[in-house]
Amino acid sequence: MRVYVVDNGGQWTHREWRVLKYLGVDTKIVPNDSPVSDLKEVDGLVLSGGAPRVGIDPEKMGKNGDYIDAFSGPILGICAGHQFMATHLGGAAAPAKVPEFGKSVVKVHQPDVLFEGLPDQFEVWESHNDEVTMLPPGFTALASSPNCSVQAMRHRDRPLFGLQFHPEVEHTQFGPEIFRNFLRVCENSS
């Protein structure tokens, strides 16, 4: 199975690559201005977090919009990737009332394949100034933290997922399990 990581300039982009590599996936970090035609043989995409402030600097997100529109496989947006997914599909992201840095706890209130086998509450690591303030049409919120209502979302029909927290870092609980669940979705849809 082949899952690529689209690099939006995050501190943990390379960690996403490492987790996927450890899970035995054929993976590569690709710049976010790679043409969609490069992704023909790919089974899934991770849109990394990044230094870009999605609300302020959408042009720094390169071709992320094309991937969301034209790539038919599953996509997991993380942090900036998640916020961009929301704004691109008609939702909204804006500076968070309370930005979160470091340790937080998320509560899963809508069971989903992404959180299968996980407790409904667990510890995660955050690092964000902005957040999703309005879900795009067709999306459901899956999890929240005390200071952020959309910690996870997914599209009802298409395999599009967004996470505000960072499943790729060592200190987030069940991070590899979340990736494994995402890979199962990739496997089933390829």
Binding site: D7, N8, G9, G10, Q11, W12, T13, H14, R15, R18, K21, Y22, L23, G24, N32, G50, A51, P52, K60, F101, G102, K103, W125, S127, V169, E170, H171
Partner: protein, 315 residues
């Protein structure tokens, strides 16, 4: 799947052999990353490799002797350079952390280019690991700090750069080091700019001397407590000298002395970290010893921040 050290060694020994056609020098601080890279590159290049260790004057207590011993044991062709005066002269009057890192990076390259010329090398091998280039930023990625071995390199550097550990993290380097029989495999990370980034404010031989003594006490006490199984050895544990003077009382006399911050964190890869829950009696010993044994220090504080939002080092 986990990290396969044997496969990685085979792959990188070959990559270094291909990457270096003539001779190479390797910048070796004696830490886990550069020592491991030196052993790896030495397998590829043998006598065509010279490991250069620079005593910047910013090293920890007894570090230079210890590194010399390690390199000798590992049978890596090496040279020890003493350059304290040059580094302190270059850092005079500088307190901005980014400027410190850039000055140190440039100084290192100046010395390495000099050594490369003498040795006849055209390549520079470095033990750069993933967090070094990630945090140094570039293009979309924001610069968190200038790692001297990445963003501290001058644009006009003539040496060809070879970095066999670029895509791995500290936990993977340690696995590699164990597989290669490197004694320092479990040593705590120590940044290239050394104690210069643990002296907040201007870097002078006196202030570096203070933080060196304080750090030796922190290391000794935490390692002793770990040996007694009172705590698990943290990922990193050290002292930072703050540019803050506060009031104290020594033998009924007012003093206006220096402040040391103790930092200890638990991490796997350095990309996220939590502060270590050191037992209070261990903290007590550290505090009492520092304020009694390090002249001029009358206050010790403990840093209780995680990464993010803080970084592990203060600068």
């Amino acid at each position: 799947m986990t990290f396969d050290a044997k496969a990685f060694i085979a792959e990188q020994v070959e990559a270094v052999r291909k990457g270096v056609s003539g001779k190479a020098i390797i910048a070796c601080s004696g830490g886990v990353d550069s020592t491991t890279a030196a052993v790896l590159a030495s397998r590829s290049l043998g006598d065509r490799l010279l490991a250069v260790y620079v005593d910047t004057g910013l090293m920890r207590k007894d570090e230079t002797n210890d590194v010399a011993r390690t390199l000798k044991e590992l049978k890596v062709n090496h040279r020890i350079l003493r350059a304290e005066d040059e580094f302190f002269a270059a850092l005079r009057g500088i307190s901005d952390p980014e400027k410190k890192r850039i000055i140190i990076g440039n100084k290192f390259i100046e010395l390495f280019e000099r050594e490369a010329k003498t040795f006849g090398a055209d390549s520079l091998v470095q033990g750069t690991i993933a967090p070094d280039w990630i945090e140094s930023g570039g293009q979309l990625r924001d610069r968190i700090k200038t790692h001297h071995n990445v963003a501290g390199l001058p644009a006009n550097m003539k040496l060809k750069l070879v970095e066999p550990l670029r895509d791995i993290y500290k936990d993977e380097v340690r696995a590699l080091a164990r597989a290669l029989g490197v004694r320092v495999a479990e040593r705590q990370p120590f940044p290239g700019p050394g104690l210069a980034v643990r002296v907040v404010g201007e870097v002078t031989p006196d202030r570096v001397g203070l933080v060196r003594e304080a750090s030796a006490i922190v290391e000794h006490e935490i390692e002793a407590a770990a040996k007694e199984k009172r705590l698990t050895l943290p990922w990193q544990y050290f002292a930072v000298l703050l540019p803050v003077q506060t009031v104290g009382v020594h033998g009924d006399l007012r003093v206006y002395g220096q402040t040391i911050a103790v930092r200890a964190v638990d991490s796997i890869d350095g990309m996220t970290a939590v502060f270590s829950k050191i037992p209070l009696d261990v903290m007590d010993r550290i505090s009492t010893r520092i304020t009694n044994e390090v002249p001029g220090v009358n206050r010790v504080v403990y840093d209780v921040s995680n990464k993010p939002p803080a970084t592990i080092e203060w600068e």
